[in-house]
Symmetry: C2
Subunit: 332 residues, 2 copies
Amino acid sequence: MMKAFISGFGTVGQGVLELIIMKGDVISKYGDLTVTGVMDSKSYDVNDKGICGLSVLGKKKNSGRCGDKDRNGMEGKDILDMADYDVLIECTPTNIEDGGEGLKNIKHALSKGKDVITVNKGPLALKFRELSDLAAKNGCIMRYEGSVGGAMPIINLCRESLVGQKIKSINGIFNGTCNFILSRMDSGMPFQQALKEAQQLGYAETDPTYDIKGIDSACKVAILANAVFGRNVTIKDVSIIGIDTITQEAIALAAENNMVIRLIGEVSETRLNVSPRLIPKGHPLSITGTLNTAVVETDFAGPVTVSGRGAGRSETASAILSDLIAVMKERK
Amino acid sequence: MMKAFISGFGTVGQGVLELIIMKGDVISKYGDLTVTGVMDSKSYDVNDKGICGLSVLGKKKNSGRCGDKDRNGMEGKDILDMADYDVLIECTPTNIEDGGEGLKNIKHALSKGKDVITVNKGPLALKFRELSDLAAKNGCIMRYEGSVGGAMPIINLCRESLVGQKIKSINGIFNGTCNFILSRMDSGMPFQQALKEAQQLGYAETDPTYDIKGIDSACKVAILANAVFGRNVTIKDVSIIGIDTITQEAIALAAENNMVIRLIGEVSETRLNVSPRLIPKGHPLSITGTLNTAVVETDFAGPVTVSGRGAGRSETASAILSDLIAVMKERK
């Protein structure tokens, strides 16, 4: 029996619980799974025999709170300590200043010998090495497929499908909002109008700074540098240029040469940057829309490209599900 | 200690042996590996303590024969029986009429309880169920990542990275030669000239029938139907239309509508076909050049796309290496 605690109960946390309920038959092939705790910023619910998933989801929808119990300013770790759990599924909002509560939750769980699955970019972009060392020291599994590219399985691709290959570089589109804006600009729309459309469609936040300034992409580049290349970097080491200065003239000039402009994150043993690049039409990185894409350059297998939806409730939850099944297989 | 036998010593067989030698340090992380036998159509070499890889490669290059011993009409299974091996790496040429020697070698190895890695499409497109049943009955592992799309890790993607997802359909470009020809036609080149260029560059065979008539793509579609969807089909069940009737006019008309024509293989629980399709520019399947690409449609993760080189000595050998490491991990 594996017991899971879900910390953070916004879109992704709710998506995970929904998927755990809907995929019960698939999960049961790998063992028994029970969710014994859940918390959001205001409330929590803990039950060692298993919380009632449907009732928690209904409560959240109706009242904005996942549980009847009030946090009353209690820290996440105090609530975690009330629960009996084997794996923490960390879904609190990304905080790239200091890692926020997500970082504290992950550190606490690992220090207690619990496995961790997270899609929270902040802790991984700021304290990757500290967390992976802590996991190793305590014999814990830490997985984070959904932290880079949502449903695009880039980390598992590098680790499993490309086993035996030396990975020379990864170049990718790691922010669907920017790619949507640039795709609209390909059709002649000015930047501000494309941004506004992205906001209306719910792709971009009201404050789109993190996306368009390339900071979100830089988080993912830092995570890949640590996870795939074994480097020890943080987001502060990434050289970043965003898309907010790209003009319609530049896009038109690119088009005349059968190229498009895309915001590309690049990571290798020596490189670590995010910047707009000219990409030939028909190239895997010339993709349009909100997809995320990564081209993994290997020593003998050549370039291998993977793409998928970089965000979304069920897409990100799906990445967590694949990590969860991997943990269940390994702990069996 | 794992002992491997390489049957078939053309481009792929030689590529595998080269890679096993060059990747010795990586492979050793998963255990000890020795190649104890190799055979081509005329000769063989068997040594229970391990053949000398470099000398076998040199011999093949200089004389066209991998071993000093003449087959004298001996069947593959008789030579396999002379060797001490745990895993057969089957690289004989594809025969889609009756499976050829590859099918006999695989059946023989499985019947003796040996694991099998193959990139030979014939046996898998004709007798998949029989072979997988035989493998299951005898407790053998059978892997075949390189049989579909070379270095494009489509099978491992579906089985590992997308674990937990229901795969609804796979649509893909499974023949790099056709995609090269269609990409050249995008630039206004007539079919016959594009085909000639593909032949000059070594992408297309002197007899390009299997490629341009869609038969090679159909083999891969049949393999995916069996491997990913658990169906029981052969290439004869695939509805096939090739690219040899596509006119420049059709391509120009597509271009006017911001589309390209690509040869798409489609497989799902109910569909099984290969045909030219209109694809919007910027779509993952609008890719140009010799790459293979597949869009995997899932229930919760949305569409996930993977692409890579569909052929080539080191690319196909890399797919075999990933299967070999997987077998070593499982047998450890």
